[in-house]
């Protein structure tokens, strides 16, 4: 191992009532790498991201960003540490009271104090990166399709060129061509801009394309993590089942078998 990891989770646990969602989850994101987290629906992937961002407080465990323990930090300092992160929410979470361009420029104007015209130019440039023309800039997010909202959310996440970017299912709901464009964009964020990214995905093909490393989450813990090219012959029964999409295997499904 070389440098200290950009983000490090150690034995993080989180439950809602008596439902344990994260169980002693440990995971590192290295500086400048693209880590993709895969895992079944409802295994706690989105919850993990929210814990890192401080939107949810885990019951136990430690979370380090740039070597600094962020759990238990005062609110103001936590806010400061968010200045260097970007987040794409699973359901986009665009501000519907603001037009598309102001959504994208929000971080630039509010947190970085940029003037409106300048921020607007950058917003339009970022929108073009995700395949949305400048005629979209003035639209209300409520008038966009889900796939378009997702791409606006993506533009918003990368607008400030953050050091750390989280993508919660960036390509779900997109057609294969646009999915490919977004995959390349995420790849570009790490390779060209040097960001460290953590992407959640269900799509094995896209995961292999953008990932340096892949981690599989099952029942709130990481059961496998390894190089993206090793996923085909990991020797791990969970990974094999997930990659092949088999019903038979160690992963328990709450479905009635005929």
């Amino acid at each position: 191992m070389t440098a200290a990891p950009k983000i490090s989770l150690k034995n993080v646990s989180k439950s809602f009532g008596d439902k344990h969602v994260l169980n002693n989850l440990s995971l590192d994101v290295r500086e400048g790498e693209s880590l993709v987290v895969i895992g079944g629906s409802g295994t706690g992937k989105s919850v993990m991201l929210k814990c890192i961002l401080g939107l949810l407080e885990p019951e136990s465990g430690e979370i380090y960003i740039d070597g600094q323990q962020v759990l238990g930090l005062p609110r103001a300092e936590r806010e400061k540490s968010l200045l260097k992160t970007g987040m794409l929410f699973q359901y986009a979470a665009l501000f519907d009271s603001l037009p598309v361009w102001e959504n994208v420029a929000f971080g630039l104007m509010q947190a970085h104090g940029m003037k409106r015209p300048e921020a607007r130019d950058i917003a339009i440039e970022k929108l073009s990166l995700v395949g949305l023309g400048s005629e979209m800039a003035g639209k209300s997010p409520a008038d966009l399709s889900m796939g378009m909202q997702k791409r606006v959310g993506l533009a918003r996440a990368i607008a400030t060129n953050p050091e750390i970017i989280f993508f919660d299912e960036p390509t779900t709901g997109l057609d294969p061509i646009m999915g490919d464009v977004i995959d390349n964009l995420i790849r570009d964020c790490t390779k060209r801009l040097g960001a460290s990214t953590l992407t959640i995905s269900h799509d094995m093909e896209s995961a292999q394309k953008i990932a340096d490393r892949i981690a599989l989450i099952y029942k709130g813990s990481v059961v496998w993590v390894g190089q993206a090219d090793q996923i085909e012959d990991s020797g791990n029964p969970y990974v094999e089942q997930f990659v092949k999409g088999d019903i038979e295997g160690p992963i328990e499904l709450d479905i009635l078998k005929p």
Partner: protein, 258 residues
Amino acid sequence: MELNFLAAIGRVTLRFMGAVGHLTLFTIQAVRNIFLPPFYMRLFLRQLMSIGYYSLPVVGLTALFTGMVLALQIYVGSSRFNAESAVATIVVIGLTRELAPVLSGLMVAGRVGAAIAAEIGTMRVTEQIDALVTLSTNPFRYLVTPRVLAGVITLPMLVLVGDIVGVAGGYLVATESLGFNPSSYIKNTFDFLEARDVISGLIKASVFGFIVTLMGCYHGFNSTGGAQGVGRATTNAVVSSFILILVSDYFLTVLLLD
């Protein structure tokens, strides 16, 4: 059986105390954040318009008919002991001290409190509030402060308009259908009116403005469970505003009596 009953009382009491504590913390935070930068001028002005300006028709209409009805009813009462000349004075004191602030508060609670709860509640369940946090923006200062401040400032202005319109309504009825002499009605209106009648009403209005906007924000902020949760938040915002306005009105009256 008996134990169950006691346990139920305990549970309800605990839940109630929990809610009171929660609301108290929320109130403290709302007030504290008013004095902390940044201040969102653009949002504040937008709220001034939507809480103040757009409430003018409802408040005006309410005051007009209340003034008209007051003149009629008080005439009925005062004519029973030949004190018709008191009508003008009682109308203006009833309006400024009591009816204009309370009725405006209730109307604004229905119009604005509900809208605030629905808007912020939707932002909560669609993760827009989480998105604000990830963009290094304090949702309290961004959402709550502009609304509460606008409520505290605009409600007294609305009530002042209500006072004037209400008195005009009373004047119309008195002179047109009760046969009062216009100039002596006006003289009676202002001769016995004291500044503190008006001012105590405006202070009440300010408190009601605080209550309405705070309840809208509080219930919106804490809404859970999708569209149904937002609906519940809206109802709770209106009902709790109504109750708090009526209860606090009594105590404010005692406090401001002399």
